[in-house]
């Protein structure tokens, strides 16, 4: 609990505290803030959607009822459609490319892009690259034809599933495991750590290592709250934030590799694509870019692609 006179920083998120990349990062941030800023500030973390889910938390933040949140990037499409960039399939070659883009001018412009609407992006936190899974082997995009895929609320992801001939389905996250298991839907897309953490691999034929998209989070605070902090306090907080971000993002690739290995060890099937197969997926999904080019801005796409080229 916080002492009197300390600045209370409530951080609400939706994952566990010790296994999920975001949860681990949040716990580390909490520990460091409470140690190093003791007497000045105090952080309380509310995990597992106990206080707010990702949808509510941004409303609550604009209202001033919570100070810190880290929803997945698709949630910010409501604030500015630029964020659709991260949902576009095969936009980034790998997580290093994502990292480089986020650190570039284009990336930091995106953190500032929601100021007018009251949010300030503080740091991008990686989960990792997304993979595809279904209740039958997926090697060619045509294998996905006619399958029902659970997707998050995002027009881009809907268009992506339409592009491979799948049937995108909206479903409450709590119902996904049961729905996959019982065959209400056939497949889903997620990062290794989520597929392992939610045990989706148990109820799927296999996971195909497509690395077709990215699932990342943006740590945000409200502009008004940040403005209310003394410059000194804000700087100290941001220094901790940057260090935690660097530490955890450097680990994210490892966390996902471990999750992938754990899936294999637990008897899950992982399929890899050769260059020709992968190109087939790229070619099938690429038309989605055109559909959302105007939303995300050609300059952002160009920036991402030039980073890809250097990888």
């Amino acid at each position: 609990a916080c002492d009197d006179g300390e600045i209370v920083i409530k951080f609400a998120h939706v994952t566990n505290t010790d296994k999920h990349p975001k949860g681990i990062a949040a716990s580390l941030l909490e520990k460091r803030v409470n140690e190093e800023m003791d007497g000045t500030a105090c952080m309380e973390v509310y995990p597992n959607s106990t206080l707010y889910n990702d949808d509510q938390v941004l409303e609550a933040m604009l209202q001033g009822d919570v100070q810190l949140a880290a929803p997945s990037l698709s949630k910010f499409e409501k604030f500015t459609k630029q964020f659709r960039l991260f949902d576009l399939p095969f936009m980034f070659k790998n997580i290093e490319a994502v990292d480089a883009f986020q650190a570039s001018d284009a990336g930091s412009a995106m953190k500032d892009s929601m100021q007018k609407r009251g949010l300030q992006g503080l740091a991008f936190w990686h989960n990792g690259m997304k993979q595809m899974s279904a209740n039958k082997p997926l090697l060619s995009p045509s294998d996905a034809n006619g399958l029902k895929f659970r997707v998050q609320s995002s027009d881009v992801l809907v268009a992506q599933m339409d592009a491979i001939g799948g049937s995108p389905q909206k479903m409450a996250f709590s119902e996904v495991y049961g729905a996959l298991q019982q065959g209400v839907v056939d497949g889903q897309e997620n990062t290794w750590s989520n597929i392992y953490g939610q045990k989706f691999f148990e109820v799927q034929d296999g996971i195909t290592e497509t690395n077709h998209g990215v699932l990342d989070y943006l740590v945000v605070a409200s502009v008004d709250w940040l403005d209310s902090l003394d410059a000194e306090v804000r700087d100290q907080f941001m220094t901790i934030m940057d260090e935690v971000t660097a530490t955890r993002n450097a680990e994210s690739a490892k966390v996902n590799q471990e999750a992938k290995q754990a899936i294999i060890d637990a008897g899950g099937t992982v399929r890899t694509l050769d260059a020709a197969q992968r190109q087939e997926w790229v070619d099938t999904m690429l038309p989605v870019w055109d559909q959302f080019k105007e939303d995300v801005g050609q300059d952002n796409i160009d920036a991402a692609q030039s980073i890809n080229a250097q990888m």
Binding site: A1, V8, N16, E44, Y46, N48, S49, T50, L51, N53, D55, Q56, E59, A60, Q63, G64, D65, M171, A172, S174, E175, Y177, G178, A179, Q181, Q182, G183, V184, G197, Q198, K199, E202, V203
Partner: protein, 465 residues
């Protein structure tokens, strides 16, 4: 201390006659305004998100609606005929058939009081006519009616699943064996009492009557099949077709079709009086359109809607209280205190049983669950108790709370249905209450009764939190 004040305020307001929902909401609002810097807007947000953010709660209005169509449509009558045909000839047969009918109706309905009204309003009268004492009849139905929330579908299970993020489908499966066991124990108790007290036996009408009664009840019984097959599929034939929430909506649509177009007990094809046969659809094809706007349809929708509303307003305000407790990190504090006190699983479960039995005196079960589940759930996980098992224990506690004085939902309803004073119902229900207590102990300490079926069908429970 502050939390004690909060709960004291909730109970105090309830007792002087403030609606439960307002007692919960007002206490929470005052607490937030006094002790935190949270805004009133956040309470409004929580109220809205109670519905928008808890998709699984949608199963509640849908199951209520399905059950309303089934009750209005005279399905209860047909189920009772089938039950009597099966077991009515035993000593104490009509009472055993009453329990049997309650079990079947429980598989159509998610609520205990609804089960008592549907079955009790027919069976209690019939038993009295057949020579049973009214007290005995009322006691039987009052108890058997509680199975409404144990045998799936169950509103209380939906609420538990929502509050703790376990799978609704898993909870439903977990209720099957305990439900059959509790029903079986009640029937056995009645049979023994009937032998000792030499109660009447009905006449055996032969297998033909069982067949005819089954045929007559078939479309009602099909609803059970639709729900179970839809949620779980048939191995080797079909996968599941819908989620538990969607199953509830499909059940409503099916129940509507069965009541209006198959049984024709209600809607445009129904006729006044029992002697005039209901119209076949070909004589009045326009019914395909008018059925949706018919006064009976509208009335059933409205009654189900009204029932939903009173339950949901309690649940929504309980969620506001839950928000306050979370915001003040009360579950963690309680968990730490209990773990520090060195509670093991057994002691913990005893405490949970006591809390629920006492809480059940004041509160409608769903609202109580919303508040208690988040408090005890983290401790249970810490102690290695299976979340599904915990859920079933809580449901059985709710059942017992419904038939224990001073306040018990089923006691009220039975007293109304039987036209008997409350105290007489309490006395009448007592012998069977003992059966349910034995059952509670059994379910509490033999987890496999609850966990076996869901594990077989859906694999081992995963705890991700």
């Amino acid at each position: 201390m502050e939390v004690g004040l909060l709960f004291g305020l909730v109970i105090g307001l309830m007792l002087i006659g403030v609606p439960i929902a307002v007692s919960l909401g007002m206490s929470s609002a005052l607490f937030l305004l006094w002790f935190s810097d949270t805004s009133l807007a956040s309470i409004a947000q929580t109220l809205m998100q109670a519905f928008v953010g808890h998709f699984t709660l949608l199963a509640i209005p849908f199951f209520i609606l399905a059950s309303s169509f089934m009750s209005t449509g005279g399905v209860a009558k047909r189920i009772i005929r089938f039950s009597i045909a099966c077991v009515g000839h035993l000593r104490g047969g009509l009472a055993i058939a009453g329990v049997f009918a309650c079990m079947i109706f429980a598989a159509l309905s998610g609520s205990s009081p609804a089960t008592v009204v549907a079955i009790g309003s027919i069976v209690i009268g019939a038993m009295t006519q057949a020579g049973y004492s009214k007290d005995f009849a009322a006691g039987v139905i009052c108890n058997a009616g509680t199975l409404g929330i144990l045998i799936p579908p169950s509103i209380v299970m939906v609420v538990y699943a929502t509050a703790t993020d376990v799978s609704v489908g898993r909870m439903f499966l977990a209720g099957v064996f305990p439900g059959l066991l509790a029903g079986g124990m009640l029937m056995l108790a009645i049979y023994i009492m009937a032998r000792i007290r030499d109660m009447p036996a009905g006449e055996w009408k032969g297998f033909m009557e069982i067949w005819l009664a089954f045929k007559d009840a078939f479309w009602g019984l099909m609803l059970i099949v639709i729900i179970m097959v839809g949620i779980y599929g048939i191995p080797g034939v079909t996968g599941a077709i819908f989620t538990p929430t969607e199953a509830a909506a499909v059940a409503s649509v099916y129940a509507f079709i069965a009541a209006v177009f198959i049984y024709r007990d209600m809607g445009p094809l129904s006729t006044e009086g029992d002697d005039r046969p209901n119209l076949p659809l070909y004589k009045k094809p326009i019914a395909l359109v008018t059925a949706f706007f018919h006064a009976d349809t509208r009335r059933t929708l409205f009654e189900a809607g009204k029932l939903t509303v009173t339950l949901m307003f309690v649940i929504a305000n309980a969620l506001i209280l839950k928000h306050v407790l979370t915001d003040e990190q009360v579950p963690q504090t309680v968990a730490r205190a209990m773990l520090d006190a060195g509670f093991g699983p057994v002691m913990f479960l005893v405490v949970v049983n006591v809390i629920l039995l006492i809480g059940g005196q004041f509160m409608e079960p769903s609202g109580l669950l919303v508040i208690v589940a988040p408090l005890v759930f983290p401790i249970a996980i810490e102690l290695g108790i299976d979340p599904i098992h915990l859920g079933i224990i809580m449901v059985v506690n709710m059942e017992i709370g419904m038939i224990t004085p001073p306040v018990g939902l089923n006691l009220f309803v039975t007293s109304g249905v039987a036209g008997m004073p409350m105290m007489r119902v309490v006395k009448a229900a007592a012998p069977f209450l003992a059966v349910l207590f034995v059952f509670l102990i059994l379910v509490t300490y033999v987890p496999i009764i609850s966990t076996w079926l869901p594990t077989v069908v859906m694999g081992p429970e995963i705890v991700t939190n």
